[in-house]
């Protein structure tokens, strides 16, 4: 069975700093997607960034980038120049292309401090 582990339940950083959220996963599959979702306080969950396992290049979306280490089954999210609006719960997630289900980690609550 696939599992997703986020080892940091909660983190706080100062505005403008860079922060890295950790995620590891376990699977025997070769083709899959990895995601980071953001859930701001009292707001809708949105997709921040996704990575296809067959792509070696790390995905980047503006200030958000990932460090995808397939052999180590690690998928960390780096937020550069953090902003107050980045305060949210962040979920790492895995999807096996074969059966189409998304498995979520338990989340990391990130606080950006002014």
């Amino acid at each position: 069975a696939q599992t997703v582990t986020q080892s940091q339940p909660e983190m706080s950083v100062q505005e403008a700093e860079t922060v890295t959220l950790s995620c590891t996963y376990d699977t025997s599959e070769n083709n899959y997607y990895l995601f980071w979702y953001k859930q701001p306080p009292s707001r809708q969950m949105i997709l921040v960034i996704r990575q296809e396992a067959y792509k070696q290049q790390n995905a980047t979306e503006n200030r958000f980038s990932v460090n995808f280490q397939k052999a180590a089954k690690s998928f960390s999210l780096k937020i550069s120049d953090s902003q107050l609006g980045d305060t949210a719960m962040y979920f790492c997630a895995f999807a096996n292309i074969r059966d189409d289900k998304i498995i979520f980690g338990k989340g990391t609550r990130l606080h950006i401090l002014p």
Partner: protein, 113 residues
Amino acid sequence: DVKVTQSSRYLVKRTGEKVFLECVQDMDHENMFWYRQDPGLGLRLIYFSYDVKMKEKGDIPEGYSVSREKKERFSLILESASTNQTSMYLCASRDTGTVETQYFGPGTRLLVL
């Protein structure tokens, strides 16, 4: 933009009541999902549906049922609400074969007293 809406943001019910949570999506997606979100547990899949009148159990279906009579609407039903069903419920939808683009509703926070 895809829009997924849920009928209530907050709901308070009594133990034993029958509760309906409604979800509607406006993008003609085949696949719809119900999750519950609890602190320290993340999101857990309750039920999902790949088509009208079709349903599949997720990881924690006990105490819940679902209904999908129309493509755009997916209802979660608590036949007899219990206090351990107090939670945040999230609906999601996506097109077939597009696991990389799943859209979520705003959530319904349910309190069962």
